[in-house]
């Protein structure tokens, strides 16, 4: 279980997260929704160690993550796919995937290869393009690659930041479906940040609504989806 308590992260005088508390249950999909600038990305970046919070606590499987570097947080089983299909364009598809499992290759040599093969089964399109540079891929393929890069580290918790950004609805559906199946079949815990609230709440078990760095609602996804007042007030539709 991931437990975030009174988390505050600021950039200079701008407070991006203003005392955020919530929990993400194991083997469930928890989604964090909210408008642009609500602090969703900052929340994920603080959990994965890219940003340093000024106060509050983050605990994962009973251990505090505060003060840990991103490269060590990955080793505790948390993989973060940041916003914007973040792959390394100048490296090949295969290299991007291999990169995600470099830190495991000494201890789990056989499994590293197995994990890479699994990614190609999960996203066959990546297999066809394994030797191409990642920069030549389409937006959807790049998102699949970014997710594969995260999954080969065999995470227990996947932090997904706006996987739908800039993608065609059909591709979004395919990616969200894959994540859903992974969660239901392998017990992966997912923390999904989305601006596209409908898509996210449709697949999630639990929803957290963020506005200006504060949690304004923390409820089962179905309830949140049904609440027209909240939607109108915070999501604008």
């Amino acid at each position: 279980m991931l437990e975030v308590k009174n988390l505050v992260t600021s950039f200079g005088s701008v407070i991006a997260l203003d005392g955020v508390s919530f929990t993400a249950a194991e083997s469930k999909i928890t989604t964090v929704i909210g408008a642009n600038g609500a602090g969703k990305s900052t929340l994920l970046r603080t959990i994965s160690g890219l940003e340093t919070p000024s106060s509050g606590s983050i605990s994962w499987l009973g251990k505090s993550l505060l003060g840990m570097r991103p490269e060590n947080i990955v080793r505790t089983g948390i993989a973060h796919v940041p916003e914007g299909h973040s792959v390394i364009s100048e490296l090949s598809v295969e290299e991007n995937i291999a990169m995600g499992s470099l830190f495991r290759r000494r201890k789990f040599k056989g499994d590293v290869l197995a994990a890479q093969t699994e990614m190609f089964e999960l996203f066959p399109r990546l297999k066809e393009r394994r030797n191409q540079l990642a920069g030549t891929l389409s937006g959807g393929e790049r998102q699949m690659l970014a997710i594969s890069r995260a999954l080969v580290s065999r995470p227990k918790l996947l932090l997904l930041d706006e996987p739908s950004l800039g993608l065609a609805p059909l591709v979004v559906e395919q990616i969200i479906d894959t994540i859903n199946i992974l969660c239901r079949t392998t017990g992966l815990t997912v923390l999904l940040v989305e601006q596209n609230a409908n898509t996210a709440l449709g697949v999630a078990d639990h929803g957290v609504l963020l506005a200006l760095g504060k949690v304004v609602a923390d409820r089962p996804a179905s309830e949140l989806k049904a609440d027209a007042t909240l939607r109108a007030a915070y999501l604008g539709y």
Partner: protein, 303 residues
Amino acid sequence: MDTFLAALFSGTSRGAIYALVALGLVIVWRGAGVVNFAQMGQAMFSTYIASTLISNGYSYWLGFVVAIIVGAVMGSLLDILVLRPLSNKKKTEFLSSESIRAAIPVIASLGILGALQALAGIIWAAEERGFPAPYPQEGFTIANSVMPFTSFDVFVIGIVLTTLLMTSLFFQKTGVGLAMRATALNQEVAKLSGIRTNFTRTLSWAFSGAASSLAGLLITPTSNLSPNTLDLVLIIGFTAAVVGGLDSPVGAVIGGFLVGMVISFVSFYGSPEDVFLSILAVLLLVLIIRPRGILGAKDARRV
């Protein structure tokens, strides 16, 4: 025809060394975003150490290996003790301008260059001394004329090409090489992939230190050794790196050989005084025609 061949041979051997210097600069630039002006100062220092060992009766090869190891260690220490603390975001937060923050490591590298030169002057006295070559430096004779191409040149070209080949294999085929490339290209994604970026960055400094020490060992037999002798080599190597497109290792090697050829042909057909001018002309020409260099990346650097 003889002059042409002579210029060609000498250009190849000189170019090989500049390629090495440029490669060292490019690897640190990619890995740490710093043009390391201290690079040839480090090379000078380690060549002095080799010189001291050899003049005390140890074999050339011992001096050779020790100098390269010292070069690698010096590079790592520079990163760990000076550059890493200086690039710490928290500690430089009080500086409002991003460009000033980016200039700090460059200024530090100039300071280190000065300190190393002063230190070398204190330890080994500032006058020039010779540095031995492991193979004879007499030109081969072809059809009764002596070519300016020696066994030592063959050694230089051979060892540089081997180094370049091994470097390329290392970066393309090994996990550590992939981790170093990933760190150079996108630190954030590298970190999120579990790569210890501090370590890979230090490795690139070590590599660059070793490469430039090798360059120092290979160039001083023809130019003598003093605390300042390698300044010009740094300028030429930097030109080669820019010509190749500062962020491309392959470009650096091409740039190195190109600049070596230009220098060689100018000094054979023109006069040695024109050499420096010709380097600047090449630099200017490349910056005007193709500002990103021969193999430089298309986008400007994102800061």
